[in-house]
Amino acid sequence: MNQLLRTALSGLAMSGFGLGSLVALPGAASAQPRPPAAIQETMEIGDEPGRVSTEEVSITEGPYARQMVLFRSNEAPGTVVIHSAERFLYVVQGNGRALRYGIGVGREGFTWSGQVQVSRKAEWPDWRPPPEMLQRQPYLPRFMAGGPGNPMGARALYLGSTVFRIHGTNQPETIGQAISSGCFRLANGDISDLYDRVPVGTKVIIRHKATL
């Protein structure tokens, strides 16, 4: 723990982030359970650490607002279906309906399609940018504990044994865009809503645009 914090502090100090974003971190971090070793805490995601978005921010208007839509599916109610090209995540409700959320997706990277399960859930997850990302953006911290300024946002749903997750964001205006480096991101209010509906073990089906 101490070492992690030191890493976080030195990373943040190096990158010149203000004290404001640091103050809240230790408490939030110690409240979090550590992830199993198998799941890497390295994610390629947004690049505005320190920017604060409140837990309550949801998309309330327009097509990316959370809404019930017509969705024909043979999947059992509760199943999560992600259509990355559309920028939507669906929670199947049965009876021809699904609850739809607007998402942001990776520019590239996550091209894997198929079925996984939610393997773990976390509130205010920590963030460790992977080496490739640090190479491109050396100013990023090496570690950032979970909290309001963390690009991982308010909640995370871990996908199987992959490094990918469905998570929140401190950049809610990026919903509907392809800017994160591989994950599926929702506004914090929306990921919190989804988090409460989706237990560990939920089936997640991921579909991308057909390749040429």
């Binding site: 019930m68 017509l70 024909r72 559309e86 579909r207 057909a210």
Partner: protein
């Protein structure tokens, strides 16, 4: 099957003997023979090619389907379909002459040859085909009756509208569908009937009913016209069938086939991942379905009376189905209508185009 047997069969009352014997001599197969004798391209397609423009009948102004902007340019979902047909046939999406038609004028204008194609949010019904001599060349938009409900009701399905007050326009199939839906689901409702759609909308806005019912495409527009759109939601349920599609005359089968397959091409393009932004990449693809689509294999353009790259040109005009939908009606428009039924069959909707092969 032999050549002579076929030629005798087709010869009945149609082809003259010299033509038949020439075909026999040259030993051409069935496809060439049929193309020779039947006037495959003698109708609308030739007329359009000679004229150099496609005459497309559209609405006088239905938001997001066909409307003119301040500069007089036509825009909308139906307009983009006309442009895709023009691009496939003439190689130029701009070569369309749009004819605005009222609901009562539209079918006569088509029958009378004033337009080559009608793309005017028209519902496909038996009567319109069997009685008017017209043919719907597929479905471009699956509309249907739905409900705009007050958010304060906290319902997310029409099945939860039991005992609700429903505003509806008088004397329409909408009113009948409403009655059928509630009866079929063992629910009751309080009907609030108004002489026009505008009055029904005004009554809903002023709080005289819990929900307003009419076609979903219109409800999404109605919602945006509310003083507080956030206080109402369009429920996901679709309770009637209003399939909208392009219409042609029923006496020109080759033209009917062509228009139908432009629609199928736009849907298939989405399904195989071909869009207006990756056509160069598509042309280099080694996947058989993509190669057939771009005309590198199959020779289907010629069979339609078009160039091999007809489908590529259709997509280049305004994108594949998803691009056309999202720009005019979906995420790229103010309406933001979810794809719903108008999503691919494999992605939660009912769009199902036969394979391009």
């Amino acid at each position: 099957m032999t050549g002579p047997a076929i030629s005798v069969n087709l010869n009945k009352g149609q082809a003259d003997m010299s033509k038949t014997s020439w075909i026999r001599r040259s030993g051409l197969g069935l496809a060439a023979l049929a193309g020779f004798i039947l006037p495959a391209a003698a109708g609308t397609l030739d007329t359009v090619k000679q004229r150099g423009t496609l005459q497309c009948g559209v609405s006088e102004g239905v938001a997001s389907f066909s409307e003119q902007d301040a500069q007089g340019n036509w825009r909308g979902f139906d307009v983009d379909f006309c442009r895709a047909v023009a691009a496939a046939v003439l190689g130029d999406a701009g070569k369309v002459a749009f004819t605005p038609l009222s609901a009562s004028q539209r079918f006569d204008a088509l029958k009378g040859g004033k337009v080559d194609l009608l793309a005017r949010n028209s519902t496909w019904t038996l009567g319109r085909e069997a009685e008017l001599g017209l043919a719907f060349a597929g479905i471009t938009y699956h509309d249907g009756q739905g409900f705009l409900a007050k958010r304060s009701l906290k319902v997310d399905t029409a099945l939860s509208l039991d005992k609700a007050k429903i505003c509806v326009e008088a004397g329409t199939t909408t009113q009948l569908n409403l009655a059928d839906f509630f009866k079929a689901n063992s629910m009751t409702y309080e009907e609030k009937v108004y002489p026009s759609a505008a009055e029904a909308f005004a009554a809903f806005e002023s709080g005289q009913c819990d929900a307003l019912t009419r076609d979903q495409s219109a409800l999404h527009g109605d919602r945006l016209r509310l003083a507080k759109p956030a206080e109402a939601i369009v429920l996901p349920d679709v309770i009637s069938k209003e399939p909208l599609g392009p219409v042609v005359r029923s006496d020109d089968f080759p033209w009917f086939t062509l228009v139908k397959w432009v629609n199928f091409a736009l849907v298939n393009a989405e399904e195989i991942g071909v869009s207006s932004t990756n056509l160069d990449e598509a042309l280099k693809s080694t996947k058989p379905d993509v190669r057939r689509f771009v005309g590198a294999e199959g020779g289907f353009g010629k069979a339609l009376g078009l160039d091999a790259d007809w489908a590529v040109r259709a997509v280049k005009a305004g994108g594949n189905y998803a691009e056309i939908y999202e720009r005019n009606l979906g995420t790229g428009s103010k309406l933001g209508i979810p794809r719903g039924l108008n999503q691919l069959w494999s992605m939660g909707g009912v769009l199902y185009a036969p394979p391009l092969r």
